[in-house]
């Protein structure tokens, strides 16, 4: 009995397609995995520092590219000619920020943000990217308004994240 594979085109077509598509997908998967790891490592080169760690923690020096976390201080947001300036704080340490553009998302006073950028000699963080960080707390908008009315009657300041 002849058990050699048939080479007729109609028989070869589906198996060739079947073999190439998964191999192509596997190649793309490996490439995508490599890109993901490379981008993550490139991003991790920029230290993730809290405001109070600037100049204190190794890697959080002025003049180098950083990601700085802090809470936008109450009443400090100023918008002039497309530039947004504000002050962020963490554990009572403050840092002025200047960002060319309007931060997106739920950016507002008293909200924690992560600013990518470099602290120049004048002590101002020149932001290249602002990301708003939200906590793992989820609170009913209306319920909180009642609490806010009581809480904020006396105090003006935002409390820094723990």
């Amino acid at each position: 009995m002849d058990l050699t594979p048939r080479t007729a085109p109609e028989a070869a077509a589906p198996s060739t397609r079947r073999r190439w598509v998964p191999l192509l997908v596997l190649g793309l998967v490996v490439a995508a995995g490599g890109v993901l790891v490379a981008r993550f490592l490139t991003s991790a080169v920029d230290y993730y520092c809290n405001v109070d760690e600037i100049g204190e923690r190794a890697g959080c020096e002025k003049g180098r590219s950083l990601r700085v976390q802090g809470t936008v201080e109450d009443g400090t947001i100023e918008r002039t000619d497309g530039t947004t300036s504000f002050v962020i704080s963490f554990n009572d340490e403050e840092l002025p920020v200047r960002y060319e553009g309007e931060p997106g998302g739920i950016f507002e006073e008293c909200i924690p943000v992560v600013v990518h950028g470099r602290i120049e000699d004048d002590g101002v963080l020149r932001g290249t990217r602002v990301e708003v960080k939200h906590s793992e707390e989820y609170v009913d908008e209306n319920a909180e308004r009642l609490d806010d009315a009581v809480d904020r009657s006396g105090a003006e300041q935002c409390s820094p994240p723990a």
């Binding site: 009995m1 998964p22 993550f40 490139t42 991003s43 993730y48 708003v132 609170v139 009913d140 908008e141």
Partner: protein, 256 residues
């Protein structure tokens, strides 16, 4: 059960039964509940306003993707380490991974939309986002490995090995928010101290989402697993047909 009984006509056989029809109905009802609670009954968030509603799809789909990949690993282990090497486990692993990849894709997509609305960016290379994308890519690779060809048993052995390695990424994804400093917030519900800081109705809507998506997952996996039984049977049928054709050829006068 490796292939359907001989009298099954694979050209007309379906994948539904009374149980799956009931399950499908429950899943649809669950999704309707989710829409009602997610969009209408649950309140807006203090900071995130209406965009918080994306959570009711984002979080359950992430959990279901984890569950799906864990089921894939469990079924793969049962295939590999039980003497019978039953393809039932292999097909369950494959079906669960396919559904898991869909859920993981939904997680990434809804996460990007939610990120744009609350963080102000679609994407950032932080640990939670990167490890999630890596998990998604791993299981797309797993599905490609399943289609590399060979016999059903070869497919099962190869893909089981990948599944048992891939599942090790899940703890890394889940704990990435604790291991590294992140933009992504820490877990609200699945946290070690049990202190869930979420409004009651929001939490209930999230649970509705989890139940609805779990029903949807089970329903999809059962159907997909049954479809895979038929696919394997169709392939076996094609092979048997080719062999019998050759035998018929050989039996002809002058046949080799």
């Amino acid at each position: 059960m490796s292939i359907p009984p001989d009298d099954t006509d694979i050209t007309t056989a379906g994948t539904s039964s009374a149980a799956t029809r009931l399950l499908g109905t429950l899943a649809v009802v669950g999704v309707a509940w989710l829409v009602a609670f997610g969009l209408l009954f649950s309140p807006a968030d203090r900071d995130q306003r209406e965009s918080v509603r994306i959570m009711y799809v984002h979080v359950p789909s992430a959990w279901l993707a984890y569950l799906a990949f864990i089921v894939t690993a469990g079924a793969s282990a049962l295939y590999l380490f039980r003497a019978a090497h039953s393809l039932v486990w292999d097909r369950l692993a494959g079906a669960s991974a396919e559904v898991g990849v869909v859920f993981m894709g939904i997680t990434l997509l809804t996460g990007m939309l939610w990120g744009r609305l609350s963080w102000g960016v679609f994407w950032t290379w932080d640990a939670r986002l990167t490890t999630t994308a890596f998990l998604f890519v791993t299981y797309v690779g797993y599905l490609a490995v399943r289609r590399l060809g060979g016999t059903h048993q070869q497919r099962a052995r190869r893909s089981a090995a990948v599944a048992l390695l891939g599942v090790l990424e899940i703890p890394l994804v889940h704990f990435s928010v604790r291991l590294w400093r992140n933009l992504h917030q820490e877990s609200t519900v699945a946290r070690p101290d049990g202190d869930v800081k979420m409004d009651g109705l929001m939490l209930f809507s999230l649970v509705v989402g989890l139940v609805a998506f779990t029903l949807l997952y089970v329903w999809l996996v059962i159907h997909r697993q049954r479809a895979l039984v038929l696919e394997d049977a169709a392939e076996d049928h094609g092979l048997e047909q080719a062999l019998s054709d050759r035998r018929a050829e050989a039996a002809l006068p002058g046949g080799r």
